[in-house]
């Protein structure tokens, strides 16, 4: 029952982000004279410094934030599961070497790594894309780097979890039985072992998703992530925070982005909690 409510709310946020900007009477970058207007019937959540409708921008930003979260988490899922499967199943020296690499990467400050990645390759990727048939992607080079970068720093924990699981699963009789009936290694990995780690991977996904969304917001808040004219929950929050001053406080510009971000993260974390409980 609780899970259903959580899923429903999450579905609502996702659906609103997808449909909202299309059906809204305002557009994302439509500037008006109604600057910093408080919430009203015309602008349900008020407007920002340039008179843009906050609700429309929030829903639009949701697209970016959720997309970065989803793609980032998927990248980390793919890399982490593959890495953990290989290290755990082969064992021995290959496993030793692979896990020491994970230890080293763990020791590096991960967000700094993403920042370095973005600053180093942002321009290079842009010029690289410009010359090819992918030139339409060039303006979004930074977003692409965000996808990859956030995914590549989030996989470490998953690789460790999967490896530990595989180490014990591969010794179970049904895997031994598959080996001595002559089943090929890829089939053993996909058919016998992967389905056993799937519940843990699913649980981890609900934790990785909010983690990546939060990291994206953090980077965008610092001005290193998503760039104007694109918006994400992080940049909207940053815009709102910049407007805070003791004389005049447009509270809606900070409150609503923060509310949407935290409730999404909380829902995902609660879902993860529910999945971790033993099934009846």
């Amino acid at each position: 029952m609780k899970v259903r409510l959580l899923l429903l709310t999450l579905g609502l946020i996702v659906a609103a982000s997808l449909v909202g900007p299309v059906v809204s009477p305002h557009t994302v970058s439509e500037v008006s004279t109604a600057r910093l207007a408080p919430p009203s019937l015309h602008h349900l959540l008020g407007t920002d410094l340039h008179g843009r409708d906050l609700l429309t921008r929030l829903l639009y930003g949701g697209r970016i934030s959720l997309l970065v979260g989803f793609v980032g988490a998927s990248v980390s899922l793919f890399v982490g599961v593959t890495y953990g499967l290989i290290a755990g199943y082969w064992g021995g020296r290959a496993d030793e070497a692979m896990m020491r690499l994970v230890d080293i990467l763990y020791a590096l400050p991960r967000i700094v790594l993403v920042i370095v990645l973005i600053t180093l390759f942002d321009l290079k990727l842009k010029t690289l894309l410009d010359g090819t048939f992918l030139s339409s992607l060039a303006p979004h080079a930074r977003l692409l780097l965000l996808f990859v970068g956030l995914g590549l720093v989030e996989w470490l924990t998953l690789a460790r979890i999967v490896r530990t699981q595989v180490l014990s699963i591969k010794e179970r009789p049904f895997v031994l039985s598959a080996r001595l009936m002559g089943q090929s290694t890829p089939t053993i990995l996909f058919r016998q072992i992967l389905p056993q780690v799937f519940p843990i991977v699913l649980t981890y996904l609900t934790l990785a998703l909010p983690a990546v969304i939060l990291e994206e917001s953090f980077l965008s808040f610092l001005g290193l992530g998503v760039q104007a004219p694109l918006a994400s929950w992080g940049t909207l929050l940053a815009d709102g925070a910049a407007l805070l001053n003791p004389i005049e406080t447009p509270w809606w510009c900070t409150l609503f982005p923060a509310l949407l971000l935290t409730s999404t993260l909380l829902i995902l974390n609660f879902l993860g909690d529910q999945l971790r409980q033993p099934q009846k």
Binding site: P173, F174, L176, S177, L180, M181, G182, R191, Q196
Partner: protein, 263 residues
């Protein structure tokens, strides 16, 4: 006539590593210079305490563990030296039944799929309908209902799962089955049923068994020959009757004395 399985001066040593650098500091001799022969159609019982090397011996024969020294021959072919595709024909001839019925079946696959897997590998040209007929036949053979093919492992009791494990081993029409403590995880009443099933199947298909157990009473019932292992060494070998009535080695005598009786 040469024996079906000929185990020749077989040793398996595992290095013991310790310390920060994981340097090898010694070896565990899981098997130490063991020689055994198994005749076609017979059952060799292998007894010994936990850690005596019984399971390792079974695993060397099916090549889950590589020998340190010595060899295993099957019908005269040294299978301990084969690898990759040359091993494949023997994957069909030699099968194994495992101890733990709760972990020997993939919990996420239906029984029908579990039993069809070995068929897909060793009879690739079998049609889907032939395969499902064969699965039904296998289930009947081990005393289960063919409709059980649609169920998942968790819907079965320990004894029923062990029957499914036996059906999976039989699927490829093997000649030699290694039973690694097939009944020690089961209730006593179920143990007898499984032992009798194994003996019926042996008669029906002229199977050869290596029957591994720590319980001499069970082994005595099924075996023609009995071999006793202690700390990786073969301490005594002989006919079932000889070992159980006139054991010569003190270790065998201790094992026999440890069988509980109702007096």
């Amino acid at each position: 006539m040469s024996p079906l399985v000929d185990i020749h001066h077989l040793s398996v040593h595992f290095p013991v590593k310790s310390g920060l650098l994981q340097r090898p500091t010694g070896v565990v001799k899981a098997l130490d210079n063991v020689s055994l022969k198994i005749e076609k159609g017979s059952t060799l019982g292998l007894v010994g305490e936990s850690g005596s090397g019984k399971t390792t011996l079974g695993r060397v024969i099916v090549r889950l563990v590589d020998p340190t020294a010595g060899s295993v021959s099957y019908q005269g072919e040294r299978i301990s030296a084969l690898s990759g595709s040359s091993l494949r024909p023997y994957r069909k001839k030699i099968q194994m039944v495992f101890q733990d019925p709760y972990n020997s079946l993939n919990p996420r696959l239906r029984i029908g799929t579990i039993l069809a897997e070995p068929l897909e590998i060793h009879f690739p040209r079998m049609s889907a309908s032939d395969r499902s007929d064969r699965v039904s036949e296998l289930l009947r053979l081990v005393g289960l209902d063919p409709t059980h093919a649609r169920r998942f492992p968790h819907e079965f009791s320990g004894g029923q799962r062990q029957r499914i494990g036996i059906a999976r081993a039989l699927a490829v029409e093997p000649e030699f089955i290694i039973c690694d403590e097939p009944v020690s995880a089961l209730d006593v009443s179920v143990q007898a049923q499984i032992v009798n099933l194994l003996m019926d199947l042996q008669e029906k298909f002229n199977l050869t068994y290596l029957f591994i157990a720590h319980d001499l009473a069970v082994v005595e019932h099924v075996s023609d020959q009995i071999a006793v292992l202690e700390h990786g060494k073969l301490v005594e070998e002989g006919s079932s009757e000889q070992i159980t009535t006139q054991p010569t080695h003190p270790y065998t005598q201790r094992l026999l004395a440890s069988i509980p009786s109702i007096d």
